[in-house]
């Protein structure tokens, strides 16, 4: 898999991810991608309910969340997470055809969305954008660790 320049947090620590998807395959492939971005897997969840508890437990920097899941839909999970943690950076992952759901998720506080099948380049750019996107204050210059390619 292609390697990217590592994305880091402002404190230069690796970015920690929570991956939420009911498909194990999807979770594995997303985990591989974030690894190539220099990120760390903080937790995984197969449904919305678990996602909420995992979020509270792991406090990840980024949540990658599938839009359609059993028990609790992604939209509801986003809403609950953002209500409790307004700083949460949730990126919706969705296949085409769920535009209305994506729209709703964005309105509930998701920061971005990425289409399935997920292209690493697109996801990398999105995460970089979302990491710097703190809404109100100007973003700091993007901190990318020079030459640290894993």
């Amino acid at each position: 898999m292609k390697q990217f320049e590592a994305l880091t947090r402002k404190d230069n620590q690796p970015v920690r991810y929570l991956i939420v998807d009911d498909s194990v395959f999807a979770r594995k492939s997303l985990a591989k991608m974030i690894e190539s971005f220099g990120g760390r897997l903080a937790g995984e969840a197969g449904d919305g309910c678990t996602a909420i508890t995992e979020y509270t437990r792991t406090k990840p920097d980024i949540v990658l969340m599938d839009i359609t899941m059993p028990q609790m839909e992604g939209i509801e999970a986003v809403e609950r997470i953002v209500q409790e943690h307004p700083d949460a950076r949730v990126v919706m992952v969705s296949s085409v055809g769920y535009q209305d759901n994506i729209l709703a998720a964005l309105q509930k506080g998701a920061r971005h969305f990425v289409q399935k099948p997920v292209k690493p380049d697109a996801l990398y750019e999105i995460i970089r954008y979302v990491l710097n996107d703190d809404g109100v204050t100007p973003p700091p210059t993007i901190t990318v660790e020079e030459g640290k390619v894993r």
Partner: protein, 697 residues
């Protein structure tokens, strides 16, 4: 808080318009200088200062649109941007000078100023050039808002907020346009306050792949570019400062309040986006911040020209009074030649006369301005024509310091501009043609001014292909201006003079520059109205020279006085070539008119008592002939007696009094006698209808 009185503010505005003209002239000159030497930092700084002054002054006068545009322009005239766009800067400055000129004209006539689209476009281009990602946004991205949206933008601008127009191009690969729109919209919301957006919702974004928005923000354009360039949603982005919008009609009170607010804030520098580095030297430019105050502080008075005219008129009356005294004095000397009082009176009179002479000169000097004021306009005209016609033309100026009466100078402005334009457009050939003719590819236009006695001569010469005499004559015959037979009698100079006839243009194609239906006939009549003349010399292949001769001043004239049939007349001394005496036997008749021989030349003889070819009875054996030369023609004026020369103060004749076009004015002598001043050009044109002048027999 008090509003300035109407008079005060109108005076202020007059002052503003005047100083603004100077600023624009300076911009034109600096623009040309930068074109010649791109990257001249000194010139750039000069322009920037000028624009800064204009910004402050126009704000103080309540001309918000101009002030804002000047502000935007100032922002892009940084050494950094200028270095990156050295080729573009001169054009921007010249466009700005034109735009500001139009806006000023509109303000002067209380009209809504034009928006200055071309200048906005330039500024936008300058601002965006470093941001390469804007490339695929269509350049003509126009922002058309509804009336409400415009109002929002205008209001925000009025509050001094920074408003940007933002165009977002949505990624064509984004398969969820509504979601993409939502994200883009959110990014805008995060960047500031969205004043206007189109489309307004994601549903309509389905078919339009781009979003336009006006955003009020404290952020910089760069920040916005980063923030709103949402990955996998926005493929490209353009951010530019919002142009000044025409606000919906407002009521007077609003405008007054706004003017006052603008005046108050004029000294305060609005917050600038950080993309444009603010120069350190800003603080070292005290002159820039208050051009009006600066102009007022100089030891200069701006006086209404009519006031000077009044003084001039009074001086004229005093000269007549002096003449009356001198005549009375002469009478006194005759009667009381032994009276010791005579010497004292004569001394007092001499003293008074000397002071009066000084006074007259001083007053005239007030009206005098160097022709440089006029010449300054021409580099720009020539540059524009040269560009449009793709020619290489250099302008040479000489004698810029020659003084001329302001009113004459003003009246010369249009005719001279016409001649200069003509020279550049028609006179000078294209580079290829010039080289084929063995000349250098670069054409030269020369403007020269100098004093010649009581006249000022202004020459416009070019080293182009010269006038085609054959063509002029042919055209004149076609237009029925004269018959082929008459044409045969014309000499070289006379046939060239035909181009001053109305409706005769030899330019094969009417170009957009000079072919505006205003011909050389207008130049000629303007000159005649100034009691001036225009001469023309042309050598095929080598060029053409127009010589404009105008009196130094219109207020007084040195004239030769003469009598015909007991009546007193005068001709301007400047047009008198010589005085001759001839005998009746020396007068011959050719066709229908009288001629006489003066050395090798045969000249037409004009008699004022019968401007026509009728024979009369007895005449003195020897008669005086005043030989008058004007516009390259000579003719003789038969007079009964010569009365000497005198400084005449010209009194305008009221229209209903003037029955003859050949009289241009009148004057009163010391003894109260009225003198009529002949309008020499009119006499010439009157004559040329009767007989060709100066035709060699």
């Amino acid at each position: 808080m008090s509003f300035p009185s109407d008079e005060q503010s109108s005076e202020l505005r007059d002052l503003f318009f005047e100083s603004a003209q100077e600023i624009l002239q300076g911009m034109n000159e600096a623009g040309l200088a930068l074109e010649a030497r791109p990257g001249d930092v000194e010139q750039l700084r000069h322009v920037r200062r000028a624009v800064h002054t204009l910004k402050g002054d126009s704000a103080a006068c309540g001309y918000r649109e101009l002030s804002e545009l000047a502000h935007d322009l100032e922002d892009v005239l940084t050494p950094e941007l200028a270095q990156q766009n050295a080729g573009l800067i001169p054009e921007v400055i010249l466009t700005a000078a034109d735009t500001f000129h139009e806006m000023l004209a509109a303000y002067r006539n209380n009209l809504q100023p034009p928006a200055g689209g071309a200048l906005h476009e330039h500024i936008r281009r300058l601002l965006n050039k470093p941001a390469a990602q804007a490339q695929d946004v269509p350049a003509e991205a126009n922002f058309e808002w509804s009336e409400y949206q415009r109002l929002m933008i205008v209001e925000a601008l009025r509050r001094g907020e920074n408003v940007y127009n933002i165009a977002l191009q949505l990624d064509p690969e984004a398969l969820l346009p509504a979601a993409a729109f939502e994200l883009a919209r959110k990014s805008l919301d995060g960047a500031g306050r969205v004043l206007a957006i189109r489309p307004e919702d994601g549903a309509s974004a389905e078919d339009s792949r781009s979003i336009r928005a006006a955003l009020s923000t404290t952020k910089t354009a760069d920040w916005i570019r980063k923030r709103c360039h949402v990955p996998s949603v926005v493929s490209s982005i353009s951010v530019e400062r919002a142009p000044v919008l025409q606000s919906p009609p407002r009521d007077l009170l609003d405008i007054l309040i706004e003017s006052e607010a603008a005046a108050l804030s004029a000294g305060v520098k609005p917050v600038m986006p950080a993309t444009v580095p603010i120069e350190e030297d800003e603080a070292h430019e005290p002159a820039a911040s208050s051009g009006l105050a600066h102009a007022a502080a100089e030891n200069m008075l701006r006086v209404d020209a009519t006031r000077i005219d009044t003084v001039m008129n009074l001086v004229g009356e005093m000269i007549i009074g002096k003449s009356m005294l001198q005549r009375a004095m002469a009478e006194f000397e005759r009667r009381h030649s032994k009276d010791p009082l005579r010497g004292r009176l004569a001394d007092a009179l001499a003293f008074q006369s000397r002071v009066l002479g000084e006074l007259q000169k001083s007053v005239m000097k007030i009206r005098m301005v160097p022709v440089e004021q006029l010449f300054r306009r021409f580099p720009r005209i020539i540059r524009d024509v040269a560009r449009l016609r793709n020619k290489d033309i250099v302008l040479e100026l000489a004698g810029e310091n020659t003084d001329l009466d302001k009113s004459i100078l003003d009246a010369l402005s249009d005719p001279l501009a016409h001649l200069v334009r003509n020279a550049a457009d028609h006179g000078i050939e294209t580079g290829a043609e010039r080289e084929a003719a063995g000349k250098s590819a670069r054409g030269t236009i020369r403007l020269n001014a100098y004093h010649d006695g009581d006249q000022v001569v202004i020459e416009v010469s070019d080293d182009g292909h010269g006038l085609d005499r054959e063509k002029i004559v042919r055209r004149a015959i076609e237009r029925g201006l004269l018959s082929a037979q008459e044409a045969n009698q014309l000499n070289e100079m006379e046939s060239l003079q035909l181009i001053f006839a109305p409706g005769l243009s030899t330019a094969d194609e009417v170009t957009e520059i000079s072919g505006r239906g205003v011909g050389l006939d207008v130049v000629k009549s303007s000159l005649e109205a100034l009691k001036g003349t225009v001469e023309l010399h042309s050598t095929p292949g080598q060029g053409t020279t127009f010589r404009l001769l105008v009196p130094l001043t219109l207020a007084s004239i040195r004239a030769l006085l003469f009598r015909v049939h007991g009546r007193l007349y005068a001709v301007p001394l400047a047009s008198v070539a010589e005085i001759a005496r001839i005998t009746e036997q020396g007068i011959h008749r050719i066709d229908d008119h009288e001629v006489f021989q003066l050395r090798e030349q045969v000249l037409t003889l004009v008699r004022l008592d019968r401007l026509g070819p009728h024979a009369v009875g007895e005449r003195a054996a020897r008669i005086f002939v005043i030989v008058i030369g004007t516009g390259g023609r000579k003719f003789g004026l038969a007079v009964d007696s010569l009365m000497g020369e005198e400084e005449l103060v010209i009194k305008a004749l009221e229209d209903q009094l003037v029955t003859s076009p050949i009289v241009s004015g009148a004057s009163i002598l010391g003894d109260g006698t009225v003198v009529l001043i002949l309008n020499v050009p009119a006499v010439v044109s009157h004559l040329s209808r009767i007989a060709p002048l100066g035709a060699t027999a």
